[in-house]
Amino acid sequence: MNVRLYVWQRATAALMVPLAAVHLAVIFYATRQGFSAAEILARTRGSVAWGTYYALFVAAVSIHAAIGVRNVLAEWSPLSERRAGRLAIAFGVLLAALGFRAVAAVVL
């Protein structure tokens, strides 16, 4: 890992600390209130705030996890750094696609 990947991984980790905390708090709140899916969707549909919040979360997760997977592959598999990097980018793109799709489903 070079300094650029290091800074991206640490910055996304720092960003995810408050994002994950709020995410967990929302989960507890929604389940304790006994909200139905329809009630949750009523709150998220058309919400710019929740859309921005979770889009940012998905972006941070995709970057952070991809860099981590790249390190694991480079150190523990016979793959070269370049191939590990390509596979990790593909993994990050997959995470981003799945995540943004989920965000779109509850916000749009």
Binding site: N2, V3, L5, V7, E75, W76, E81
Partner: protein
């Protein structure tokens, strides 16, 4: 301390990378060190045994070996401390090519010191006045904490990241770099930070702290590497480094 038997059963690695352990009987002595045991085998049992030592007092860093699974400086490791059952298994250091028996090739280890720009780069000539370095300045305190390394290779042999990543510079070289980064007389920090910020540099460290755990001088290379991570990240954010 429990009484040890009159004789030790000592397994020594014989041969190159594809060698095997052979067992020898060595008499137990008072205040006996692991290096004494190895020396006894070579002088009294098998003169073809190859190993490396020089000062015998923990200054030169030549005699490190794997003793009962842990990398140690053998000249300062008492048998009483490590051979409670009366058996010793002594092999060459891990993570380095074996030349023969207990002697490893240290060239890759020192090559990485060179790659990490571990040589002092003077900022003045001999005609300039001596710079005044305050011993209580934060930079000098940081350098002093890491400066006593004897290049024994114990941390390098103990490091998981070195084992996994052949390009990783390793704790000793990066610890050396940290002392120079904090040396106010040095003029080579731009190239030095660039060298340790690349792939295989300080950011490859996982902070497992095996280097700190095993260092015979109780240095903390993990802390030095953490310092380099901070320093290089700051330099990168300021645009002073090209990854």
């Amino acid at each position: 301390m429990p009484e040890l038997p009159a004789e030790l059963a000592v397994s020594l690695w014989r041969g190159g990378a594809q060698g095997r352990y052979e067992t020898y009987r060595v008499p137990r002595r008072d205040s006996q060190t692991v290096l004494d045991v190895v020396t006894y085998v070579q002088r009294h049992i098998d003169p073809t045994l190859s190993y490396r030592f020089a000062c015998r007092v923990g200054m030169c860093g030549s005699c490190a070996m794997t003793v009962n699974g842990r990398p140690r400086w053998t000249c300062r490791t008492h048998v009483a401390k490590v051979a409670g059952s009366g058996t010793l298994e002594i092999g060459p250091l891990e993570n380095l090519p074996v030349i023969k028996d207990l002697a490893t090739d240290m060239a890759p280890f020192f090559e990485k010191w060179r790659q990490a720009k571990g040589a002092f780069a003077p900022s003045r000539t001999r005609t300039d006045p001596m710079p005044r370095i305050r011993p209580d300045s934060p930079a000098r305190i940081a350098a002093d904490a890491a400066i006593e390394c004897i290049n024994c290779g114990v941390c390098y042999a103990a490091c998981d990241t070195v084992r996994w990543n052949a390009d990783y510079l390793g704790p000793a070289a990066l610890n050396r770099t940290w002392t120079l980064v904090n040396d106010e007389r040095d003029a080579g920090n731009a190239a030095r930070l660039q060298a340790v910020a690349a792939a295989g540099g300080c950011h490859a460290c996982h902070s497992h702290q095996s280097c700190q755990e095993h260092c015979p001088l109780s240095l903390n290379p993990t802390a030095s590497i953490a310092g380099l991570k901070r320093r290089t990240a700051l330099a990168y954010l300021k645009g002073e480094l090209k990854p």
